[in-house]
Structures are given as C-alpha cells and as structure tokens.
C-alpha cells in the first residue's frame, strides 16, 4: 500500500512559537556543534587564517564540513576549481534536505521560505523532520533551531581561534565526535514508519557505501538519498500494478 500523502490541515506557518520549539529541541545537540566550532577555529589558525577571517567564514558559510575542507585548500595560488567543487559536493545534500521540506513551506511567502533556508542544516532539518512526524507544521522550528546553532557555531569558532589548545584527539577521547551520528541514528528510529521503509533505507545504505568506495569524496549523502527515494517509488509502482 502506498503511503498516504498527508495534506497538512492548517497549511504551513512560520511563527515565533515555532522558533522557540525548535530552539528548545536543538539544545541537546549544541555541545558537539560547539566543540566542532572550537576545533574549526583552532584548525583555521593552524592553517594561517586570521581569527576574524575564520569567524567570518563560520558566520557566512555556516557549513562545518565544507569549511574544514576549505582549510586544506587554503594555499597560494588559490585552487579555485577544487575549492568550489568541494564546497558544492559537500553541501549538495542540502538540495535534498530542502526538497523534502516542500510541504512545510507550502503557502508561505517566498521571502520567508528563502530566508529560512539560510539556516538549513542537517541537524535542524533532522529535528524538524522528526517533529513533523509528531504533527509539527511550523517552519519556524527550523529557523529557531538553526539560529541557535549559528550562534553556537560562530561563538565557538571565535573561541577556538582565540584560545586554542584542544585537538580532535581530545574530542575523540570523550567520544564527542560520535554525538552527531548517534543523534541522526536516533532520529531515524523515530522516522521509521514500518516495513514500508525497509527497502528504501537498505538501498540508501548500500548506495551510500558504494559512493564512498567508488565515487569521489562527499557524494555519498546525495547518492544514497536519491537511490533510496527512487527505490521506494519504484517498489510502490510495482506493488500497485
């Protein structure tokens, strides 16, 4: 049986109350965001960036993995093509995240939608998707959570750039590097609707690993997400006919 598309009864919204709910929901995952932000600040100084440049990058780009990748390409002459390709490849997963929020954006004015998307990130997206399953219909959830993450990320980058001393090994000692993956894993538990998700998710996992092994770095989220989505769609078509 195909999953019923649930039309939202009240339409989409973007309210302060939604922002507040999102901000509260994201509190627990702020510590690793903070730690990675500090680590970025330290790494940036290590690669010769001035502190304010590192802070500016965190404030404007607000995408940790691609910021770390840029540090490795921080050389003269600037390797423009690898830099731009890496930035796109690492962040291309946002396209899928944004697409999946369609129902939550329906009916909102464009400036609200595109304004909210400035804060779109894996963590607040996952929190919103999980909340949507429990009836959340407010895009503010994404904005509130994202704003808090942004504040944490920028503050931590500044602290790291100024202070220093911590290394990624320290983070590993306390297993803080695994907070994000466990957060995503628990989100997945809440998201599972039942057997209907088994095949798409299996395909997604296999495709993601295949991409890790056979594609250039950083395409695995895009490859796995698309493969899983298509697998679910194809399976529905075949069971229907």
């Amino acid at each position: 049986m195909p999953p019923a598309a649930e039309p939202s009864p009240h339409g989409a919204a973007l309210t302060w109350a939604g922002c507040w709910r999102g901000a509260r929901a994201i509190l627990a995952v702020l510590p690793p965001v903070f730690v990675f932000g500090v680590a970025f600040g330290i790494a940036a100084r290590g690669h010769g960036l001035e502190g304010w440049i590192a802070a500016l990058m965190s404030a404007l780009v607000f995408a940790g993995a691609s910021q770390f990748a840029a540090l490795d390409l921080w050389t003269k002459p600037i390797p423009w093509l690898p830099l731009l390709v890496a930035t796109f490849a690492i962040n291309a997963r946002h396209i899928l995240l944004g697409a999946s929020l369609r129902a939550l954006c329906r009916g909102l004015p464009a400036w609200k939608v595109y304004g909210s998307m400035t804060l779109l990130s894996d963590l607040n997206w996952a929190a919103l998707i999980a909340a949507e399953r429990r009836g959340e219909r407010d895009l503010g959830y994404l904005v509130g959570a994202g704003a808090l993450m942004w504040l944490t990320w920028v503050t931590a980058s500044v602290i790291g750039a100024v202070a220093g001393g911590l290394t990624l090994d320290d983070v590993k000692t306390y297993a803080l590097d695994l907070v994000l993956v466990t957060f995503f894993a628990t989100t997945l538990v809440g998201l599972r609707r039942g057997r209907i998700d088994d095949l798409p998710w299996l395909v997604a996992g296999l495709a993601a690993m295949g991409a890790v092994w056979f594609l250039p770095p950083n395409w695995h989220v895009l490859a796995g997400g698309l493969a899983g989505g298509i697998a679910g769609l194809v399976r529905d078509e075949m069971t229907r006919s």
């Binding site: 050389t75 003269k76 423009w80 796109f88 946002h94 894993a185 993601a208 899983g228």
Partner: protein
C-alpha cells in the same frame, strides 16, 4: 594569502552553499504536486539520514558501531532520544578507554 583573496574565497563559498540550501525548495517548485511526489520526498528524508549515518558509522569503526547500536536500542527501549544518545556516547567512550 592576502585578505582580499580570503574574502573572495569566503564570498564564493557563501554563494555556493546558499545555492544548495535554497536549491532544493526552488527545484521542487517546478515539480507538479502529486501523491507520488509526496511519497518520494518522504522516502527521500529517511534515505538521506541513512546515507549520513551508515558511512559515518563504518568510518568511525568499532566505537561508532557501539555508540549507534546502544543509542538505537536505547531509543527503542526508553522512547526518548536524549538519554539514548548519552548512553551511546558513554558506551563508546568506555569502549575506547578499555577495548580500543
């Protein structure tokens, strides 16, 4: 690396990253809404998460398997994500301290 170069890089990265953030909702606007598209987007959400979790777990090695397994079982048993994550992290830290 001059300051101008650095600012240029940050500016370019900002543009590209925002394009990916806005691109999803922009592109999906061209697709006519149907039950099929809705279903696809729902499969997509879960699949993206799987595609984040699985490679990250494999790359993380034994400690990551421990953390994810404990967190998932913890979520199923406790019905609450946060204590489950804490348990998973604790288990992984212990694993690294004594087994790793």
């Amino acid at each position: 690396m001059s300051t101008v170069d650095a600012l240029l890089i940050i500016f370019a990265m900002t543009l590209i990253t925002y394009a990916t953030r806005a691109g999803g909702i922009f592109l999906v606007g061209f697709v006519p809404m149907s039950a099929r598209v809705e279903a696809f987007l729902r499969y997509l959400a879960g699949s993206v998460l799987v595609a984040i979790v699985v490679p990250a777990t494999v790359r993380g090695g034994a400690a990551a398997y421990v953390a994810v397994a404990v967190a998932v079982v913890g979520t199923l048993v406790l019905r609450k994500a946060l204590p489950a994550i804490a348990l998973g992290i604790l288990a992984a830290a212990l694993w690294r301290a004594y087994m790793g």
